[in-house]
């Protein structure tokens, strides 16, 4: 085995050596020993506003059941994971069995009641605030983009976005982001073949290299063409990746597979961005039926993340991987007349990876609708934030990425009590 280099190992895939989901420990250790020292961050956007109370269920809070007669997850079905610092018993949604396993391995942290003061109920403003890490000026550059800027000149694959549009969180002047919604179609095609096609490709690269100084909008698009041209071959190598597990066939699963591929091929990417949507459950949220809307959301999330976790672990990359989720807001505590929930305030964030100190962080709200209840706001309608989401970002920037959160976030948001990484 000593002659197997990391690259050859990766090229053939650990799958070549193992057929089971979990690689033998020695293979994982070997891969780890042979390289893989690039820490990366995977930002997961649960878009639409994830209902934290269906995700992490306070199954002994009687107000949870009285305020959600149609939507509450029955106490008997939740996946119990213990109690938080306030003694509140908590359980994961029943479809999150894979996440519970990861929690039990100490590699999943749940940060309750993350948010900010006067939480916006607009999807767009909310997303901007979480992306810019700024509740006041939400149109500023993205927090991840600003972090990347501090690293100096970067190649376009430093940030790998698996969605179509560049997400706000990754945006900053001078930071190129490769958007790769589909690895297979990320290729240069030509009406010609052979040498003629190669001449066209060379011409396209040359054309894009002439940056028109007096027309910045043209320069922007040229830069995108250029970035595409210089990343083609490396992205194709990620496309050739053979995962050690079977990912779900949905968009979320395929995006995570591409992320694992890019990590395993050592392409130098520092930040990945993955999104899964549908969390805007105003009506027919249905948290219990097999085909219920929220049940499907949890299944997608659980199956995708479980596959990803297993794959990067098998590849020996778990220790380099941190996944952090956010959503633009949580949802209202009381269900609405459409058996759904409207836009709310604070919610739960999750962090997963080999460097994560797992557990439940922060305290759950009491759902008592008394307007004086200090853990709620808006006359008891919403969960009030306890942990400023920027403190979570600060922890990731300082303790995981080795950056300076005060510089990146424009102020110190360091906080104690959330030592999840």
């Amino acid at each position: 085995m000593a002659s197997i280099t990391r690259r050859a190992f990766v090229k053939n895939g650990v799958a070549a050596f193992t057929v089971s989901l979990a690689a033998p420990a020695f293979l994982s250790d070997l891969a780890r020993a042979q390289g893989a020292t690039q820490r990366n961050l995977v930002v997961l956007d649960l878009s639409g506003g994830n209902d934290g109370l269906s995700f992490l269920v306070p199954y002994t809070d009687s107000f949870y059941y009285s305020r959600r007669p149609a939507l509450a997850v029955p106490a008997g079905t939740v996946l119990q994971i213990g109690s938080d610092a306030s003694g509140k018993a908590l359980g994961l949604h029943p479809k999150l069995a894979g996440l519970k396993d990861i929690f039990n391995q100490g590699r999943l942290a749940l940060i309750q009641r993350a948010g900010y003061q006067n939480s916006s109920r607009s999807h767009f403003t909310g997303t901007d605030i979480w992306s810019a890490a700024d509740p006041v000026n939400s149109q500023g550059p993205g927090w991840v983009g600003r972090y990347l800027s501090t690293l100096g000149a970067l190649d376009p694959l430093a940030a790998w976005n698996t969605t179509g549009d560049t997400p706000h969180a990754l945006e900053d002047a001078g930071v190129g982001v490769a958007s790769i919604p589909n690895v297979a179609t990320y290729a240069f095609q030509s009406p010609n073949t052979g040498a003629e096609a190669a001449r066209e490709r060379a011409a396209a690269s040359s054309i894009a290299s002439h940056v028109p100084v007096d027309r910045p909008h043209l320069a922007f698009v040229s830069a995108s063409v250029q970035a595409a041209m210089v990343t083609l071959d490396r992205v194709a190598s990620a496309g050739a990746y053979r995962p050690t597990v079977t990912y779900p066939a949905n968009g979320f699963g395929q995006a995570l597979q591409a992320v694992a591929g890019a990590m395993a091929q050592d392409l130098g990417t520092k930040v990945f961005y993955v999104q899964t949507g549908g969390f805007d459950t105003h009506a027919s949220q249905d948290t219990t039926s097999d085909n219920g809307a929220y049940v499907r959301l949890m299944t997608t999330l659980n199956d995708g993340l479980s596959a990803f976790y297993g794959d990067v672990r098998n590849q020996g990359l778990l220790g380099d991987t941190l996944l952090l989720s956010f959503s633009e807001f949580g949802r209202r505590i009381s269900e609405n007349g459409s058996k759904g929930t409207d836009h709310g305030a604070a919610s739960v964030m999750l962090a997963m990876g080999g460097g994560v100190r797992g557990g439940i962080f922060g305290t759950a709200a009491s759902l008592n609708p008394d307007p004086q209840n200090p853990t709620l706001e808006n006359n008891g309608a919403d969960v009030r934030y306890e942990t400023d989401f920027r403190a979570v970002y600060a922890k990731v920037i300082d303790n995981w990425l080795g950056g300076d959160s005060t510089a990146v976030l424009g102020g110190s948001f360091k906080a104690s009590g959330i030592d999840f990484v």
Binding site: A178, S179, F188, S206, I207, V221, S224, A228
Partner: protein, 486 residues
């Protein structure tokens, strides 16, 4: 070189139209600028039979599994719309339909949830004549109202069955008012963020209680029909007070009325919102970015002028657009090619200018998804992220690869069209640039194109050389940054 007047009309056709194909050049050739604006804006007298040409030779093709069924199969509906964009004699109507589709962005996948897929598609794209209950789909409704009164359009949107499903109006009841539509009505469809309060959202939700959907024929039946129905029993009839005026006398309160008359609440609110200064200015800003420029910020006075024309004309769009196209701001050459082409616009213009004989609209569907604009599936109710957001690396590659597919398909047509210019590689480059009309290319890029045209060959202008180089050049030009602007 075309005369300045021709350049201006070309600009007008890129903006108010969808590019200039041979039919557009014939229709607009010889018109003065004023006449061209008039033809675009006052389109009612022009034929609207474009759909009847689908499947006929000489037009863009379509591809379907089974019989072409644009009212019940989403991809067929998308193809019909692309066909209209390429061939309609009323390009501004299609352009504005696309504008409103983004403005009232409604996603088919949610509209279809829980009902038969064909019914969801009908709710989005069927013509009234195609629907069992003669209910027109949302896109048809937008097309009918493309240049009409925004107040009437907002009422039609609030009562549109697809919208009622999309923003959950169909579940807005007295006991539990549903906020989704009321919020977006103010945030995205009228006044804008910062110009309403959370209390306004609660009030608006109550205003629209009972604005529900009547389903006949059984929701799971393939010919179920869905129609707006005001349900007085579900209307919350107490007074609703807003932070802004509802009535001309300045009153902010919609009075309590009998539930049987409660539908008037919603009409009062919409009438007020449509004619608010905030709405007028917000819409004017959107029109400026859509038609004039995304790279040069608007002059505040110009936005005020557009807003004033809108309000003076009782929220009717046609005079606003006529004013806009006739304005010096629109005609200023410095705004030419300063608008980032949406994927659908890029595809349609490329088809018009490159040619379509033997090409199917179906071939454009997957590329449009990869470019980030699947028609009928905007990412959320705020619509697509516009401008530079279209140009991620992956989306740009999708544009380049569509250009490749089109150039490859049109290989023989391009080669024979270029034959009169076969004298030198440079002449072929000049021909392709004059046909495709990108923004001015720099000398460096021009040199690259000429170098490519002559690369690897001893130039003879042979058919084989033209069949390689003409599509190769078309691919490079259509895939260049210069072509991504209108």
């Amino acid at each position: 070189m075309p005369a300045a007047g021709d350049e201006l009309i070309a600009h007008l056709l890129r903006r108010a139209g969808l590019g200039a194909g041979a039919a557009d050049l014939a229709a607009f050739g010889g018109l003065s600028y004023g006449e061209a604006v008039d033809r675009l804006v006052n389109y009612e007298g022009l034929p609207d039979d474009v759909d009847a040409q689908i499947g006929k030779p000489g037009y863009l093709g379509t591809t379907s599994r089974g019989p072409f069924s644009p009212d019940t199969v989403a991809d067929d509906g998308r193809q019909r719309w692309l066909f209209r964009m390429v061939h309609s004699e009323r390009p501004l109507q299609e352009r504005m339909t696309l504008f409103w589709h983004n403005y009232f962005a409604t996603g088919l996948s949610k509209v279809s949830t829980g009902i038969k897929a064909e019914n969801g598609t009908r709710l989005m794209v069927a013509k009234a004549s195609e629907d069992p209950a003669k209910q027109r789909g949302q896109i048809e409704m937008l097309r009918d109202n493309a240049l009409g009164s925004v107040r009437d359009l907002l009422v039609a949107v609030a009562q549109d069955p697809a919208m009622l499903r999309w923003l959950d109006g169909d579940t807005n009841t007295k006991a539990k008012p549903q906020e989704n539509f009321g919020r977006e009505l103010m945030e995205l469809f009228s006044r804008g963020v910062g110009f309403y309060t959370e209390d306004d959202v609660y009030a608006a939700a109550r205003v629209f209680t009972g604005w529900n959907l009547k389903v006949t024929g059984g929701a799971q039946s393939p010919d179920a029909s869905f129609a707006f129905a005001y349900n007085a029993n579900q209307h919350e009839s107490t007074a609703k007070t807003f932070s802004f005026p509802i009535y001309p006398n300045g009153s902010r309160t919609i009075p309590a009325r009998a539930a049987s008359a409660g539908m008037q609440d919603g009409l009062d609110l919409i009438t007020a919102l449509a004619s608010h200064q905030e709405t007028a200015r917000r819409l004017a800003g959107k029109l400026y970015a859509f038609f004039v420029s995304e790279t040069m910020p608007p002059d505040a006075a110009f936005i005020d002028e557009l807003a004033a024309v809108y309000l003076k004309n009782g929220t009717v769009m046609k005079p606003v657009l006529a004013y806009l196209f006739n304005s010096p701001q629109f005609q200023d050459p410095s705004v030419f090619f300063t608008r980032y082409a949406w994927p659908a616009e890029f595809v349609v213009r490329a088809l018009k200018e490159t040619g379509w004989t033997g090409f199917s609209a179906g071939t454009a569907l997957t590329p449009l998804v990869n470019m980030g604009q699947q028609l009928l599936e905007p990412p959320n109710v705020a619509g697509w992220a516009l401008g530079q957001s279209w140009f991620s690396t992956g989306a740009m590659l999708a544009r380049m690869n569509f250009a490749s597919a089109l150039a490859s398909n049109q290989k023989f047509n391009l080669a024979s069209a270029a034959a009169p210019w076969k004298g030198s590689p440079q002449m072929v480059v000049d021909y392709v640039l004059s046909r495709l009309t990108p923004a001015d290319v720099s000398g460096d890029i021009y040199a690259d194109l000429v170098a490519y045209a002559g690369a690897g060959v001893t130039w003879t202008g042979s058919t084989a050389q033209l069949q390689a180089k003409a599509p190769g050049l078309a691919h490079l030009v259509l895939g260049s940054a210069e072509y991504q602007f209108v």
